[in-house]
Subunit: 208 residues, 2 copies
Amino acid sequence: MDFKDILEKRRAVNHFDPDRDVDETLLRAVVESAVKAPSSYNLQPWKLKALRDPGQKAELRKLAFDQPKVTEAPVVLMVLADRDGWKDGNATLESVFKDFVAAGKMQPDQKDWFLGVTQGLYGRDDEAAQAFANKNAGLFAMSFMYTASSHGLETHPMDGFDHDGVKQAFGIPDNYWVPMLIAVGYLKPGVTLHPKPWRQSYEDMMLD
Amino acid sequence: MDFKDILEKRRAVNHFDPDRDVDETLLRAVVESAVKAPSSYNLQPWKLKALRDPGQKAELRKLAFDQPKVTEAPVVLMVLADRDGWKDGNATLESVFKDFVAAGKMQPDQKDWFLGVTQGLYGRDDEAAQAFANKNAGLFAMSFMYTASSHGLETHPMDGFDHDGVKQAFGIPDNYWVPMLIAVGYLKPGVTLHPKPWRQSYEDMMLD
């Protein structure tokens, strides 16, 4: 699909067709394309949890202002931002470093130097770690939503939920922040979308 | 451009053609398309600063590990994440609320209720505000990079820089975090890109 059409077509859809599933093969294809998004030193500090079970979705809905789309959508993707993604021993970081070495971009003895850089940039304090985890999760989430659109899927990113309640109910380890949930599915037949809401102009966005 | 091609084509390019400019009309078109990205309650808590001046780019380069792309790229976009974007009086929030009322999604007397929601979700503490600002800036930044690719531009997101030094040197108000800089331009002739680096698989990403 042409990107111009995706930009117009991607909307935060409020009503999903509960009778139309998103099969696992399609979800996998979307996720594995979306992960081509860039990230800080390629550290990809994000994980996912895909909820399909009606009981789990009902529990999540209770923690998310009772929004019907949480149970209507066949899949709700929980996006998890890893605030430890810069640390020695983090599995993704270890894979990234191996890949850098294999590609000749770093030498094996540069591991401590690399860890010093990631610690200095992303782990110097909680504020920096929170920014690191969330900005990168945002990059992935946007990539996921555009990729989903390109496969004919509809999405709705949600962050109106009881953050700590969700972490507790779903046993999410403490190193993760939950920046958003993304409902994934197809538009409910007969639903008309509102016109696209207001956006900032170029001038609005440019800081003097 | 087809989205599949954009996913392959978008690379974090290290060498920009210093002789090929990105004119203001094109930059504006990219930014105004990219802003179709979704955000928390449509609050769009991001601002931009576009650096073109060689002196300013040289100053920024010193604060960014002396990376040549900072001065080679004709434009370096500073992405600013507004940690106050949920607050009463924030100009963007005020416009968003007006738009909600005009569209019949909220009533004029729901302003206090709306501010209570945004405060509870995004302003309840510094950790929540940092997540709010950075995840949304990430959504915009990804949208910007894919849109830039669809217009034939190359980009490179960078967060290897002295965060507080950049804020001070460029007079960035305290409410903003600087999640990344994005170099924007065209690939330097004769440069060959490395193969795309390792990414997590679907299984890697799925939390048990």
